[in-house]
């Protein structure tokens, strides 16, 4: 795992609180599962029809009838349940999932999310992402702060087609954490190795800085 990913995942796992029902998106978010402390009781929901995902199986014990939304073989924890896809998305759309952590391509300062298609490239489909960002009680997006060309992925407005409009509650990058509130986009944390100036430089979106963070960061050179 790259260092950036590890930083993001380590920060993201802190979002998960005792007794929460959590949906983890495909890819980087799935890796969060392994980092949840064993002492914490949480239920992982998989939109293909399962509540209570366990760890990956031991080699030889894979069950083709037991996969997660990323189509990986998994196991079920004691106390799990299986259901059909309509029921699974009833849970999502009906607000019964406490927290969803998904990857992103772009996030706008209004909390818009784009993470499903790049015009001109082959469209693979949105899967369950559009339902999840509308339905989960809290939506946390995790992504690198900048793309491989060093350009901000946090935009004034998304250029890519949206997955959801004003759906992001929190954004965690390898540099910072932002909340999307009634007052707009607010910087609430600066991760190790960065300061406000570097974050401002790498962020196209306009944001304010949380008061507590301002106090703490007051000693910096700005």
């Amino acid at each position: 795992m790259s260092n950036d990913r590890e930083i993001i995942i380590n920060r993201a796992v802190q979002e998960i609180e005792e007794e929460m029902t959590v949906n983890l998106g495909i890819g980087m978010p799935t890796m969060i599962a392994d980092k949840i402390p064993a002492s914490k009781h949480v239920f992982l929901h998989s939109e293909n029809g399962m509540l209570g995902i366990g760890p990956y199986p031991i080699s030889g014990e894979e069950d083709p009838d037991l996969i997660n939304a990323g189509k990986e073989t998994v196991t079920a924890k004691t106390g799990a349940s299986f259901f059909d896809n309509a029921e699974s998305f009833a849970m999502i759309r009906g607000g019964h999932i406490d927290l969803a952590i998904l990857g992103g391509m772009e996030v706008s300062e209004k909390g818009d999310l784009a993470n499903w298609m790049i015009p001109g490239k082959m469209v693979k489909g949105m899967g369950g992402a559009m339902d999840i960002v509308q339905g989960a009680q809290k939506v946390v997006i995790i992504m690198n702060h900048v793309n491989k060309h060093g350009e901000s992925k946090i935009r004034t407005a998304c250029e890519l087609p949206l997955t959801g409009e004003k759906v992001v509650d929190r954004l965690i990058t390898d540099m910072a954490v932002f909340d999307f509130t009634e007052k707009g986009m607010v910087l609430t944390e600066i991760l190790e190795g960065y300061d406000l100036a570097s974050i401002q430089e790498k962020t196209e979106a306009t944001f304010t800085v949380d008061e507590k963070l301002l106090e703490k960061e007051g000693s910096f050179s700005w």
């Binding site: 080699s59 082959m122 489909g125 949105m126 369950g128 339902d131």
Partner: protein
């Protein structure tokens, strides 16, 4: 009185050129393997397929693509199939992408006689373009319409000769929904069990949804992403 049939070929002949076919499964999990093989063999053309995914190039619904049997695909995610990409780009294949929860709900609605429903999913995205919008207590929703099929193909774990079905673990997925939404539903099962062996409290698909029931001789149950941990 039995719905048990012995020939996939005969049952699949219910599918005609130009039909809409709803197919259960998520990825390769819980797909009606034998029915798909028989449909590929039969060669029926110009099909509209409704299914969450479209298989791999050489397995599942991908076999129908290889045969150029599909003219339209309604799905939520089709990213794992190169043949799909080719046929889409050369204009042979029409694609309607539907959010997964909306797809599941549209199929359920089709089976349940609900003609349309309002959902917040997709508002503000390309999915909402051209759709009726309506506000419900401050939440903007779009109108989505039911999907029904001429035929549905589903795969269950256990089934009895009346057509009662039970699914296993996450292979349930879209199968019970598909079973309700086909004018003619063909169910294949791993094991045909005696009437009365299925607990009436735990039947997932009650018998009235099923027209034909077949026991598959073999199931490959391919795994798309084998993922394991250290013992």
């Amino acid at each position: 009185m039995t719905k048990v049939r012995t020939s996939f070929e005969d049952s699949l002949s219910n599918i005609k050129d130009g039909d809409t076919v709803i197919v259960g499964g998520f990825g390769l999990c819980g797909i009606p393997e034998n029915a798909i093989l028989a449909l590929a063999e039969q060669g029926t053309k110009d099909l509209t397929i409704v299914s969450n995914n479209c298989g791999l190039a050489d397995w599942g619904l991908g076999l129908l693509l290889q045969n150029h049997q599909i003219s339209k695909m309604i799905a939520s995610y089709v990213g794992e199939n190169k043949v799909f990409e080719e046929q889409y780009l050369n204009g042979e294949l029409e694609v309607e992408l539907v959010p997964q929860g909306t797809l599941a709900e549209r199929i359920r609605a089709g089976g349940a006689g609900i003609r349309g429903f309002y959902t917040p999913t997709g508002v503000g995205t390309p999915i909402a373009e051209g759709k009726e919008h309506k506000d419900f207590n401050g939440t903007t929703c779009i109108l989505e319409e039911a999907i029904t099929g001429d035929v549905s193909l589903v795969k269950a774990w256990h089934g009895d000769s009346y057509g009662n079905l039970v699914y296993r673990k996450t292979s349930r997925n879209f199968n019970p929904l598909a079973a309700t939404a086909g004018k003619h539903t063909i169910a294949e099962v791993e094991e045909l069990v005696d009437i009365g062996r299925l607990d009436p409290d735990t039947i997932h698909t009650p018998s009235l949804y099923v027209q034909d029931l077949l026991q598959g001789e073999t199931y490959e149950k391919r795994i798309e992403k084998r993922t394991v941990r250290e013992a």
